[in-house]
Amino acid sequence: MKIGIRKFFYGDYGEEKNSAAESTASREKINEWPLWEVFIRSKQGLDHKHAGSLHAADAAMAMENARDVYTRRNEGVSIWIVESKYIHASNPDDADALFDPANDKIYRHPSFYDLPDEVKHM
C-alpha cells in the first residue's frame, strides 16, 4: 500500500480537480505575508490544540499576533506557531486506505474479551 504524503498549506486542496479559485490573482499574493498555524495550550497539563491561523512577516510577529488574536480571554498559557507550508497532511482520498484497516480489528478493544463477573478490577 502506498500512501502519498503531500505538502499542503492548511486548507489547501491540491492542484487538481476544482483547484484554487480562478479569481485569485497571483500578483496579489506576491507581497502577502506568509500564513502561520497557531496552537494553544489552554492550561498546564493539556496538549496544544489547533486554534486557527494568521498572516505574519516572521515568527516573532506571528507570536505577537497569536497572543493578541487567540488569547484575549485567558484561552492559553502557551503558544506554538508553525508556518503553514511546513505542515504535511494526509490526503482525504487516502482516508479509506489509511483508516479502514482499523475497523475489523475489534480484538484491539478491551470490550472484545468476555470475562466472568467474579473478576474484579480489570
Partner: protein, 317 residues
C-alpha cells in the same frame, strides 16, 4: 466528477458530517461559501469604523476601554473569518482587493452614521443582537472552518450585546436629554437592523440552495421574526419604544406582528448609495494604501533576518 460525487457530497451533508477544506465539494458550494464568508469578514472589519468614531469621544475611561476591547474583538472576528475563507482557495489580499475595489458587499448596516454616543449602545444591543441571531445557527454550518470560526465569534459576541444594552440602560435612567438621545438612537437603528437579515424569503435567491447544503439553517424571515420578538420585550426594560406603530403582540401566532420594511432603502444602501458607503470604503482604502510601506518593510526585515541566520558568523573561529 459526475453526479455520483455530488450525491455522495449531499449524503455527507444530510448525515451532518462536516465538510473540510480538502474534501471534494461542488464548485458552487465553494463559491457560495467564499462569497458568504468573505462578506461576513468584510462586515466585521468595516463594522469597526462607525465605532472607531467614538473611541476618543467616549464619556468615561471605563466606556473607552470597553469600546476598545469590543473593536479589537471585531478585528479578531474579521481575521477568523478571512482565515476560514482562505481555506477555500482565495487569498487574503484578493479579498481585500475585492473590498477596496467596491466589488465585495458587506452588511448594509455599517453604512449608517454614528451621530451620538447613544448610537454606540444601540449598535451593541441591536446590531450585535441581530448579528448574534444570524451567527448562532452558523456555528452548526456544514463547512468545518466556518463553523469553528463562528463558535469563537459567538463566545465573544455576547459581551458586545450586553455592554450595549447596559450602556443604554444608564442613559435611559439619566437626564431628559440622555433619555431623548437614547430613544433617538433606537429610532434610527431599528429599521436598518431589521434589514440586516436580508431580503424576505420569497425574494432571497440564495436561501434555498444554502439550506439544502446546510450552510444556512434558518431563513431570513424566521431569524428576523425571532429578533423582533426578543427586542420587543427587551425595549420595555429600557422604558423606550420601537419606532413602529404596527408592532403588536399577536395572540394567535404567539409572536409580534410588525410593519412593512422599506426595501427600497435597503436596495439603495446595498447598491452603494447609503449615507456612508463612500466614506467607509475610502477609509479602508486609505488604511491599506498608507500601510503598504509597513507591510513591505516587515517582509524585507524578515528576509534579512533569515539571510543573516544562514550566513556563517564573521568572527567564528
Amino acid at each position: 466528477m459526475g453526479t455520483n460525487t455530488e450525491e455522495q457530497f449531499q449524503q455527507k451533508i444530510d448525515q451532518e458530517i462536516k465538510i473540510e477544506p480538502k474534501d471534494w465539494m461542488p464548485q458552487k458550494y465553494r463559491h457560495t461559501l467564499i462569497r458568504q464568508i468573505s462578506q461576513h469578514a468584510h462586515s466585521e472589519v468595516v463594522g469597526m469604523l462607525p465605532e472607531g468614531n467614538w473611541i476618543s469621544r467616549a464619556p468615561s475611561l471605563k466606556r473607552k476601554v470597553i469600546l476598545l476591547a469590543k473593536i479589537q474583538d471585531e478585528a479578531g472576528h474579521g481575521l477568523y473569518l478571512y482565515s476560514a475563507a482562505e481555506t477555500l482557495g482565495i487569498s487574503r489580499d484578493e479579498m481585500y482587493h475585492q473590498l477596496h475595489a467596491g466589488k465585495a458587499k458587506y452588511s448594509s448596516i455599517f453604512n449608517y452614521p454614528t451621530l451620538t454616543w447613544a448610537d454606540i449602545g444601540a449598535i451593541g444591543w441591536l446590531v450585535d443582537g441581530a448579528a448574534i441571531m444570524n451567527q448562532v445557527p452558523l456555528c452548526r454550518t456544514s463547512f468545518g472552518p466556518y463553523a469553528r470560526a463562528m463558535v469563537r465569534v459567538c463566545k465573544e459576541e455576547s459581551f458586545h450585546q450586553r455592554q450595549g444594552f447596559e450602556s443604554l440602560l444608564v442613559l435611559s435612567k439619566g437626564t431628559e436629554e440622555q433619555k431623548r438621545m437614547c430613544q433617538d438612537a433606537i429610532n434610527r437603528w431599528w429599521w436598518p437592523c431589521l434589514m440586516m437579515f436580508g431580503p424576505p424569503d420569497d425574494e432571497s435567491p440564495n436561501t434555498l440552495q444554502s439550506m439544502q447544503w446546510k450552510i444556512k439553517r434558518f431563513s431570513n424571515d424566521e431569524l428576523r421574526q425571532k429578533f423582533v420578538d426578543m427586542i420587543a420585550e427587551q425595549v420595555k426594560v429600557l422604558g423606550m419604544t420601537l419606532p413602529d406603530p404596527d408592532l403588536k403582540w399577536n395572540e394567535e401566532s404567539k409572536q409580534y406582528d410588525f410593519g412593512e420594511i422599506d426595501w427600497a432603502e435597503f436596495k439603495q444602501v446595498i447598491q452603494g448609495n447609503g449615507p456612508c458607503n463612500k466614506e467607509r470604503i475610502d477609509t479602508r482604502r486609505k488604511a491599506w494604501n498608507e500601510g503598504a510601506w509597513v507591510r513591505e518593510a516587515a517582509i524585507s526585515y524578515a528576509a534579512k533576518q533569515t539571510k543573516q541566520a544562514q550566513e556563517p558568523l564573521k568572527f567564528a573561529i
